[in-house]
Symmetry: C2
Subunit: 242 residues, 2 copies
């Protein structure tokens, strides 16, 4: 009996996902745009259990979240760049993608323009929605984060980071676009390198920032569709283009 | 002596404004774009003195700020739409523009695309930057407001409103664009009618919203340049355009 109930639940979930996918496709109607449904993950990095663990060591509290690998001696080794977990892994930049896929089960999508459909926007902060995006011969990490920078006032922060060096990142421009109900919001910037740490990009506010009210205006039934495009930015001068 | 000091001060101000104007022109280099330097006005509507006055009457506290003209009997008369002052004026929609120009000294600019250069962004909230924009046979009110929705965390809100009816407003789309240092933020929406009240648009968050950190990223020496464009939106369906 329990088996049948679970099967029925799974079928319902599938229908719901299919429906969301259909709706996102309708909104982002450009042919060939891949719609990817991204479910939220509660960030363990900021969960109370980890905070409690960190507080037992005063030394760790002083260190910024990204530099918890002080013992790295080989300069070519980089720490795990997954924004969700404090992971002890370290390796060469070339194998970060396979580590993120295999260990942290982060999906990877192909295509110059994709639609990131984040579900369950109502879930309490801290929550992350993460995918990798393979495009123009490189891999990018897209992070949407719900976080309470000011207590009681959750905000949404979205940014794109290159899984590569800062010098490589300078060659690209990423665009995030929200579009619903005769409103449109576009953010365009140079991606940061994952070596620079997603936490500091978000705390600096150098990304797409949405208040809860704006996020609700762009959401459809609890899901937020973000159009993503990446271009190369040779001789890029955004100021002169306007 | 005092006269000469004042003259010298005025000349310095003029040079400073000219320099800001030149910088904005350099950023928004498209030929023919008019750059308008807009100085801030401390909103008297939300100043502590008025709040104290309002608090003496419990009935007034319940009323939304826009509907302080309960005695209007002629439905064709509208209250003053100036967001800065609680003004007892009322008149026909056709004469609102001349009232705003003459009584509240709000400047009016011509042109399909203009650059709004708001100075002194560091001034404490509540502060407003306001101009009128004449375009496509209609007049629009552009309001940039610095306000503390959450105490201690000022934000910037920018919106454009048609000095006309909601039905007329539905025929237009306005675009606000920030562009600096390889970052670009665009907001596109249908303008609201001034009859709907700028305060409620801002409290709903249905406008361009900037955190202080983002505003600083887009500011140059304390001034924020906002590119403004208005288009007609016949058969407008933003969702299908993407």
């Amino acid at each position: 009996m329990l088996f049948f109930t679970q099967c029925f639940g799974a079928v319902l979930d599938l229908i719901h996902l299919r429906f969301q996918h259909y709706k996102a496709k309708r909104v982002f109607s450009a042919a060939g745009q891949l719609v990817c449904v991204v479910n939220p993950t509660h960030s363990l990095k900021y969960a109370p259990t980890r905070c409690a663990a960190v507080q037992t060591s005063t030394e760790q509290v002083i260190l910024p979240p990204c530099h918890h690998h002080e013992a790295v001696h080989d300069p070519q080794l980089v720490p795990c760049t997954c924004p969700l977990f404090s992971c002890p892994w370290e390796g060469h930049l070339e194998v970060v993608v396979s580590h993120l896929r295999q260990t942290h089960r982060i999906n990877i999508l192909q295509g110059a323009e994709i639609v990131f459909l984040a579900t369950d926007m109502h879930l309490p902060a801290p929550t992350d929605w993460i995918i990798m995006h393979s495009c123009l011969g490189h891999q990018f990490l897209l992070v949407l984060r719900k976080q309470e920078k000011y207590e009681g006032h959750p905000q949404f922060f979205a940014t794109m980071m290159l899984i590569g060096t800062p010098t490589q990142a300078d060659n690209f421009t990423y665009r995030l676009e929200l579009n619903r109900n005769q409103r449109r919001l576009k953010w365009e910037a140079t991606p940061r390198s994952v070596l620079e740490c997603v936490d500091s990009v978000i705390s600096d506010g150098d990304c797409l920032v949405l208040n809860t009210s704006l996020a609700q205006l762009f959401s459809d039934n609890g899901s937020l569709a973000i159009g993503i495009a990446i271009t190369t930015s040779k001789v890029h001068n955004a100021e002169d283009e306007m």
